[in-house]
Symmetry: C2
Subunit: 310 residues, 2 copies
């Protein structure tokens, strides 16, 4: 059994590879919900939906988020009613959010709603939100604390991110099955995702990090930082904003209390020794997922690295 801690696009792309080389029924995906938000009264779960759409073959992989060939008719029309429309929720994407919101309104948990959406989209792996409670990532900017989506989408991650906060985290409990998936796994994989705002909110849910530290599973992470740069998104700048070097070593350092093995890119081969000095195994490979073959190869290498026999 494999548990995967997953953020957004990087996770979705890695999981495409993983599900192509490993039986999906053995995989439990634990998704970040810190970037969940409400727009137009709808509950939007961007990271859950990114994983759903990529695994269902519906994702707009060029743009990264949303569904391919989506349109924006509702968004255009709702602008009339004074709503901000900088969060570009497409029509088909909105249908997912409508269904989720309807399920939540009818008393289902986010877990249950996610399972129903995944079933409807014929996604074969199990996807669980890290928590069913309200946990919202906020960013302290020079203009004060803003919601994650405002920082990420409206402000296009411009400006200094002084602090990353997880609103509600103290009262958040792991969703049913999260602790069991980690504690009972043979292997745990942290996808190549932003450590601060994609993996960070998962680790911040009380009980999850502790379980990672005590599980018998072998735990591996793929560095989202390659050659000092984030492959996608603002992870490199955000690390520097926290006075942390933007390097694969920092990824190892952030996870070293529970991590066994860090998978880094060939471009970072010279970091192997300093990462090993953190007490971690290191696997050096090609982590650039520029094709389905490369996604599958990275998944295979990762599976080998987190196998207890390796």
């Amino acid at each position: 059994m494999i548990a995967v801690l997953a953020g957004g696009i990087g996770a979705a792309r890695f999981l495409q590879g993983l599900l192509s080389v490993h039986p999906p029924s053995d995989i439990t995906i634990i998704s970040n919900v810190g970037d969940d938000a409400e727009f137009f009264g709808l509950h939007v779960s961007p990271d859950i939906d990114a994983v759903l759409y990529y695994l269902a073959g519906l994702a707009d992989e060029e743009q990264g988020f949303g569904l391919k060939d989506d349109s924006f008719r509702v968004l255009d029309a709702i602008a009339r009613f004074g709503y901000d429309t900088w969060f570009r929720l497409g029509d088909a994407d909105m249908a997912t959010c409508l269904a989720r919101t309807d399920l939540l309104q009818r008393g289902k948990s986010l877990s249950e709603a996610t399972a129903e959406l995944a079933d409807a989209l014929v996604v074969p792996a199990t996807i669980i939100p890290a928590t069913n409670d309200r946990l919202r990532t906020k960013i302290r900017t020079e203009d004060g604390i803003v919601d994650f989506q405002e920082y990420f989408v409206k402000r296009r991650t411009e400006g200094h991110a002084w602090e990353v906060l997880f609103d509600g985290v103290d009262d958040a409990r792991p969703a049913p099955g999260v602790i069991e998936a980690i504690a009972g796994a043979d292997s745990v994989i942290l996808t190549p995702s932003n450590p601060l705002v994609s993996i960070g909110p998962i680790l911040a849910v009380p009980g999850i990090r502790e379980t990672l530290a005590t599980t018998d599973a072998k735990i591996g992470a793929i560095s989202p930082i390659v050659g000092g740069k984030a492959l996608k998104g603002p992870a490199d700048r955000m690390l520097r904003d926290q006075s942390l070097p933007a390097s694969a070593t920092t990824i190892g350092d952030l996870y070293k209390d529970f991590l066994d093995v860090l998978i880094i890119d060939n471009a970072d081969a010279e970091l192997e020794t300093e990462i090993e000095a953190l007490g971690l195994e290191v696997v050096v490979t090609d982590t650039i997922m520029s094709s389905m073959d490369k996604k599958a190869a990275l998944a295979r290498t990762t599976l080998d690295a987190v196998s207890k026999n390796s």
Copy 2:
């Protein structure tokens, strides 16, 4: 001051004429809400929206309901999640319903939400729902009691409508301003709408029919039945289902406890004497609103008929 009791499309078409010949600021439209429904978790108010869309110049006048040039992208996508899609809510129409639902969720009343939507769509008259409380028209069919939209849209009004029920009506209070608008009006107009399911739910709200009976306003209705047929919709069959003749005389009979004048079509001129025998004034005119000129002419004739000096 004029108060208008309004159903759906017939009301919307009549109001286009009325607002073209009378200052909109003097007009309070009291809308049926018995055909409100929830679809996809959204609060749909078809009669309020028909009036809004027609008066805002956005209506799909060919189809009757919805917005012109609307698309169905969300509907197509939400079908994936197991939702019935026989209620063909277009994308722009859905934006209205999203905004309404969001306003209601944030604690606004249906009156307040309606006022905000009307403002946003630049509709110049005041539109008030008959009640802010939950009042739902149900139809007793041969298969049991069904929601109005199921009878009207899904079943296309096929089959016998044994009974029209107003679920929740006993606890429904007139929305703020409804009683004042009727009691304080110089004239009250009942639009050419289905008496059972469009005007009926308004009259059934405790206090409204009583206020119509006691107001000093002169009250007129335009018959939606012409030559024994409903101009649009199932009013003729529904009347016969209640063992009532489908005729303008029946319209007068249904309203005679508060009505002063019934406006009937030239085609029904021979009914004048029997309607007068109900104690009503009768005005015979062209009630077929086949052009904007004819809508305006019917509005003028109606205004004359309900003028206290006439």
